[in-house]
Symmetry: C2
Subunit: 87 residues, 2 copies
């Protein structure tokens, strides 16, 4: 299943709603960074919901990987998420 890394950058006023939305679909890694597997339908649905919350100046970036195995995560400083994998 495709694996996603998602980062949002939105006005402080909408951070709470975005956090709640992204947590419904993905695993929280650090502040505005999330990861997880999504089916094409789930990804489309997340994009639609994010789009509805976003306003002028807000942005979201998704990185889609064919498989989680194609990447390694290296974290410096706080690692808030429950899952962790270091090189």
């Amino acid at each position: 299943m495709p694996y996603f890394v998602a980062v949002y950058d939105v006005n402080q006023k909408r951070v709470g709603k975005m956090l709640k939305l992204f947590r419904r679909y993905l695993t929280w890694i650090q502040n505005s960074v999330f990861e997880g597997e999504l089916t094409p339908a789930q990804f489309k649905s997340l994009q639609t919901e994010a789009d509805q919350l976003m306003q002028e100046g807000d942005g979201v970036v998704f990185y889609q990987l064919r498989d989680e195995r194609y990447m390694d995560r290296i974290a410096l400083g706080k690692e808030k998420a429950e899952k962790s994998r270091f090189l």
Copy 2:
């Protein structure tokens, strides 16, 4: 050459310094998101410099990919960077 996606999440006071540091190594994508190729030596050097700037509560996440071809970037909203690639 390994391809990196980097996201930092630091106190507002250090955002300017982090931005300046990351721009020396990578391409700016959106607010705190950067991308680019790094040799192992460059990556080590960026990690060391970031570590020196970071303080309590700050965090940086790097995603290392074997090759840029293994991922696709999908951006919603503003796309500030000069490079852009949509699905």
